[in-house]
Structure formats: C-alpha cells, structure tokens
C-alpha cells in the first residue's frame, strides 16, 4: 500500500484490483485455470455484492462472466438466464445514468442489446434497439437510423457466430448452481425488478412548487 503525506497507508486502485479479497479477480484466476465451476460461484457472488452496493456495471460484468462460465460447461439454459439478467442490469444502468452521461447510456444499451440477443430475447433486444437509435439520433441530427445502428448490427453478427460455435450438452445442472442462481435472481428482482420505480424523473418532483407559485400569481 502507498503512504500519504502524513505517513498513513492508503489503498490505491491498484491495491483494490489486485487484492486477494477481490472476488472478481479470484474468479478470473479460476477461470483462467479452467476451473469454470468454481469461477462461476465467485462471479455470481461478486455480482450479488455489487448489486447490493448499486454498482451496476460491475454487477453486469460479473453476471456476464458467470454466464460465460456456464456456457463453457455447456449449461446453456442457465447461461441464457444469466445473460438475460446481465442485459436487464445494463439496460437499467442506461436508463438511470441518462441524466449524467448520455454516452454511458448509449454504451449500456449496446451491451444490453448484445446480451438480450445472447439470451434469445429478440423482443427485448428490439426495445433497446429503439431506445438506442432514438438517443443516438438525438445526439447527432445528421445521423440516419442505418448509421446509428451499424455498430449494433455488427455486434449482433458476432453473437450469431458465437452461438453457431456452441455445442449443446446434456450435463445435469448441479443443485449448487441452481441454488446460487436462485439467490442471485432474487437479488436482481428485489433491487432492480421494478425499473421504472428507480428511473423516476428526479427533476419534476419540484414542479408542484412551481405550479402552486404560478397559481398564486394568477
């Protein structure tokens, strides 16, 4: 750890991402070693913790990594379920940060679009597609729908290729995995199940005040 000017130990970002207690880092090491089963649990645990801390991007990242591990073990049904949750988290993040960073929203929608497709949820992917195009064209009035969606279509193609290379298997889902999934899905639903509730328009809670002020003038 580094020392500050008072000689106190401070935790840098390097410390944080290389810390042995970092669930995601440990999961990554396990995944690199080919231990997908163990890696899955750590990723899912990290996603759960991140959700509790409202760290949506990290939750989505860990959730998608967990899904990738299941894909590697050919547990495609569960992987698909986790890809769906990943997409939902990205979409929620996009909706929530729109007031602060439109670019992060666009990026989140791109991620959501990709994961909805991985989860075979084309209807939901279409909704995100529409949101993305609408926003991208708002930012650039010279952009046509075709151009706005070029990047998403490109990503969609790469997903199709990925799916074509996957081999289905009949390996039984372990009880442990089922339990871990259930806990995680409950967490997702309890925290972000009702998206619209979180994305309420913060600004216009004040409008009553303005209205009553104007009414009194009239």
């Amino acid at each position: 750890m580094a020392l500050n000017s008072c000689g106190m130990k401070i935790e840098t970002w390097m410390d944080r991402i290389t810390s042995e207690s970092n669930l995601w880092l440990n999961a990554l090491k396990l995944e690199d070693g080919g231990n997908y089963h163990e890696a899955f649990f750590l990723y899912l645990k990290d996603a759960e913790e991140s959700l509790k801390q409202h760290a949506l991007i990290r939750a989505a990242l860990s959730c998608s990594c967990a899904a990738n591990c299941l894909t590697m073990t050919a547990d495609l049904a569960s992987a698909s379920n986790l890809y769906l949750r990943t997409a939902m988290i990205y979409e929620t993040n996009g909706d929530m940060v729109i007031g602060e960073s439109v670019r992060e929203t666009l990026w989140s929608y791109q991620e959501a679009f990709e994961y909805y497709h991985l989860a075979c949820q084309s209807d939901k992917a279409q909704i995100v597609y529409d949101k993305y195009v609408s926003l991208a064209r708002k930012i650039n009035p010279f952009l046509g729908e075709e151009e706005a969606m070029k990047s998403l279509r490109f990503r969609n193609e790469s997903i199709k290729n990925l799916r074509a290379n996957q081999v289905s298997s009949n390996i039984q889902i372990s009880t442990q995995i089922t339990n871990a999934m259930e806990i995680f899905l409950l967490e997702v639903d309890s925290v972000y199940g009702n998206k619209s509730g979180n994305a309420v328009l913060k600004m216009f809670t004040k409008t009553r005040g303005i209205k009553s002020e104007k009414s009194s003038i009239n």
């Binding site: 909706d95 007031g99 439109v102 609408s134 994305a199 600004m203 216009f204 004040k206 209205k211 009239n218």
Partner: protein
C-alpha cells in the same frame, strides 16, 4: 407608392430596421434599397429591449411590424392599427381554453419535442394555432397556469428530457410560449415571403404562405442551426438540455425548409449544412452577397502614422473571436515591434468585451491594439490598412471579406463557412482559434510586399467579376419574378367572410 408593385413580406430577427449592424442588416438594407420595383412589408422579431425604434426607411418599405417577445403586453397592443382587443379577450373563456386551446397546444408540443417531427403536421398545427389566436386572446391562453403542467407532461414523455434542470425547462417553456404568441400576428396579403433565417420567427411564413398562396424564399447567412449549436455548446452545461435544444431546433429548421420554395444560402458551405439538415437539394440555389463597388474601392486615405497597420472590421462578439486576434497581434509584435491593429465594430456582448480588454491589458498591448467602435465609413477603415485580419470561428459569406477585397486589400482569415469561396487565391486562409497561425499570416503579408500586391490586385478583380451588388440584386429580382409567376394569380378571395373564416377555424381545430 404605386399599387401595381409586387409585395414582399420580409421576416427577420433582431435586425432591419431596428438593429443597424452586422452582415444580415447590410444584406437586407442593400436588397431593399436596390429593389424599388418591389414594395416591402418588414417583420422584425425583437428579443432585445434595447432595440432602436428611431430609424429611417425608404419609401418602398410600406409597413414595419415590430414584434417584441419580451415584456408582458399583448402583441396587439403594439399594433398601430385601430383594432379593439376587448372582444377577443371576452371571447376567450375558460371553456375555450380547455376545449380548443389546450388540445392544440399539447399536440404542438408533442410534435415539436419529438425526435424527428412530421414537418407537414407541425406546419398544419402552426396554421391551426394562428387561426385560433387571431380570434382568441393569446395572453389569456398562453399565460394559463395549466400550460406549465402540459409542458412538463410532454417533456416527461422523453426519459432524457426529464433530467433537464428546472432552469433550462423554464427557459424552454418561456421561449416556446413567447414564440407561439407570434402566431397571433395578422400579416398582410403579399406576393412573396422572404425570410433572412430559418429559425422561430420564420414560422410566421408558414401561415402567411397559406393565407397569400405565395412562394417562400429563405436566405441563410450563417445557418441558424449551426450557430445555435455553437451557442448551446458555449452556454449550456448539462447534456439533456443541449440535446433538447438540438432536437427542438432541428424540428423548427426542418419545418421551415419544408414549406420553402427556394433556399438561397450565401455560400456553398451553407448549402452542405442545409442539405444535411434535410432541405431538398433541388430547392437550393447559392446567391453570393454583393458589395457596392462604387463605395468600396481603393481610395487615398490619410493615415495618422506610418506604422504597419492591421485592420479588422467585426463586432466585439464571441463568434468573432476578438481574443484570438489580440493574441495574434501579441505574436506579431514580437517580430514587427511597431505594428498596430485597429478593430472597428460595436460591442454586442458586454461580458465578452470586458474579456477582450482584460486580455489586452494582460498582454500589455494597449499601444498596439485599439478598439475604434463602430464606423459609418468602413471603406475608409479598410483603405487605411496594410492588411485586413479576421478571426471569426463561424461565418457565412462575410461582407467584411468582400468589402476589404473591393478596397484592394490583402486579407488573412480563418477558413470557416464560405470564406474560402470568397477569398480563393486572393488572401491567406488559416485555421480558426489558432492565434499563432493568424499571426504568421499577418507577418507574411506585412513583410512580403510582392505577395501582398499580388493578392491586392487579384482581390480587386475577383470582387468586380463575381461579387458585385448589382449581380446579387439581379439574381434575387429574377428569382422573385420566376417564383411569383410560378404561383400565378393569387390572393384567394381577399374578402373572406368572417363566417367562412369561423367555419375554417372550427374545421381546423376539429381535425
């Protein structure tokens, strides 16, 4: 004034005849002064309460309609015509507002805030609102407290806009309210409508065209949309508001383009923007500005001293980037110690003017840069220069460049807008916002007498061949005649009965 003359409705914003400065004013004035074969009715939307109300107009301007969008008076109260407001006010009951105005207002907002509105539908709504507001009181309708609720309701339909700050939402609301009040203006029947910009005031052309069944021409000098983008980037800091204004402005501009018969940008650079914004390319025809070569010509001018002199004729305005010019002179001074720069132009922005002064003092350039104020004899200012320098970040087809060229002066200027089209081969082009590059250009022209003389001769010839006032006016005269002829006999029944009008209104509102 003979009644056989064709009538032009000229629509502009903070310009002729009240604000006598800037390129658009020069263009409008020269057009009117040189087209005695047309009668002009001028509408000037005023957003600045310091506008000049004492001006002189030539006899072919038969009427001026000044439309202030500030203050709390009804526009009708400014009208010189003797029309009573009382019946209008009495007619405007709560029931009328709720049953007719609110649905129209909501639909108008819904369209104007949508991503890419249906321009035909928006134009129809402008006409319906106009028909409504000439019968009912705009003040009672637009100042109704429920308008704000409707506005917020429509804003909230867009997730992004719901994150706008209250301040920006209020600004947008006020701007929309003020500009809807424009629809209460009754305009006379005319033969052709000419707008000097594609922005909110030109929405008047939408219903004026319908009433007179006549063509609409738009001459864009700086492409309103481009300048609005620059403004939003300079003065707005939250992203949702910037995007809101971008979409809103785009809808307005597209709607105005859609009802236009001819768009006459002042340069090809503007044409590219207009096409990108959705204007029909077949309706666009570039007409370059022209300069009066009998006034702007090389003349012997007595100079106060023999110092190398750089002259700039430009408003003290953020878009003219005078700070960049001052910084450039600082670089020039290091090479040519006795250089002086004379800046002729009125201050249109106090805050920016103070910034210029601070820069001047900070660089200790008081002896080298002088603010001369605006001048009524710009030809003398140009002729007293060795080199003309311009530092703008955006331009259309600037008069200052062609006027300087007409005076046989070498020009160094940023390569923005249509400047390249004017100056090609007759001066130096640099990148905007680069004081060192501007300085290098100035030094080169001051030190290289041969090059300077070459540019001076070429500039003089180019203006006389390409950019004369008579050529510009003649092109507009031809376009007016062609367009008017293409519309044939107009004035659909001047004496439209009140009953018919009411039935039209009822139909329009019901649709």
């Amino acid at each position: 004034m003979g009644s056989n003359l064709k009538k032009v409705l000229l629509i502009n914003w903070d310009c002729y005849p009240n604000f006598a400065s800037g390129g658009v004013y020069t263009w409008t004035k020269t057009l009117i002064d040189n087209m005695h074969d047309y009668e002009f009715v001028v509408i000037n939307e005023l957003s600045n309460s310091n506008s000049n109300n004492r001006y002189s107009i030539p006899p072919n301007v038969t009427k001026t309609i000044e439309v202030p969008i500030f203050g709390s008076n009804r526009l009708e109260e400014f009208s010189k015509e003797n029309k009573t407001l009382l019946p209008k006010i009495l007619r405007t009951t709560e029931s009328v507002i709720h049953n007719i105005f609110f649905p129209l207002y909501r639909e108008f907002l819904s369209n104007i805030l949508s991503d890419r509105c249906n321009t035909k539908h928006l134009a129809d709504l402008v006409i319906k609102l106009h028909k409504f507001l000439i019968k009912y009181d705009s003040k009672k309708c637009l100042e109704h407290y429920q308008n704000w609720d409707i506005f917020i309701d429509e804003l909230n339909k867009h997730h992004l806009y719901s994150h706008m700050t209250i301040k920006e939402a209020l600004t947008a609301f006020q701007l929309i309210q003020r500009n809807i009040s424009l629809f209460s203006i009754e305009v006379p029947k005319v033969d052709i409508i000419h707008c000097s910009l594609a922005w909110l005031p030109s929405l008047i052309a939408v219903y004026a065209k319908m009433e007179s069944n006549c063509p609409v021409v738009i001459t864009e000098h700086g492409v309103a949309f481009r300048e609005l983008l620059l403004y939003y980037n300079a003065y707005l800091f939250d992203e949702p508001s910037k995007i809101f204004w971008k979409v809103f402005s785009h809808n307005i501009v597209r709607t105005i383009y859609s009802i236009t018969d001819l768009i006459t940008p002042v340069c090809h650079a503007n044409r590219i923007w207009e096409e990108g914004l959705g204007a029909n390319p077949s309706k666009i025809k570039v007409i370059y500005n022209g300069v009066d070569t009998s006034k702007f010509r090389p003349i012997e001018t007595k100079r106060e001293n023999n110092r190398p002199t750089v002259v700039s004729v430009a408003r003290i305005d953020v878009f003219k980037d005078i700070v960049c010019l001052i910084q450039a002179i600082n670089y020039v001074r290091q090479r040519i110690q006795n250089v002086q720069c004379l800046i002729y132009g009125a201050s249109s922005d106090l805050e920016y003017s103070l910034r210029c002064l601070k820069t001047l003092q900070h660089l200790r350039l008081e002896d080298h840069v002088k603010f001369m104020g605006s001048t009524k004899e710009p030809e003398k200012a140009y002729n007293a220069a060795d080199v003309i320098a311009i530092s703008s970040i955006t331009e259309g087809f600037p008069f200052t460049v062609i006027e300087a060229m007409a005076c046989g002066k070498a020009v160094v200027t940023p390569d923005v807008g249509g400047v390249r089209e004017a100056l090609e081969g007759c001066g130096l082009l640099v990148r905007s916002r680069r004081p060192n590059e501007l300085a290098e250009g100035i030094i080169k022209l001051l030190e290289d007498n041969k090059l300077r003389k070459q540019f001076e001769t070429a500039a003089l010839k180019r203006v006389r061949d390409e950019f004369t006032l008579s050529k510009c006016v003649e092109q507009f005269r031809n376009e007016y005649a062609n367009l008017i002829n293409s519309y044939g006999t107009k004035y659909p029944e001047d004496s439209l009965s009140e009953k018919k009008r009411e039935s039209e209104l009822a139909n329009g509102v019901a649709q």
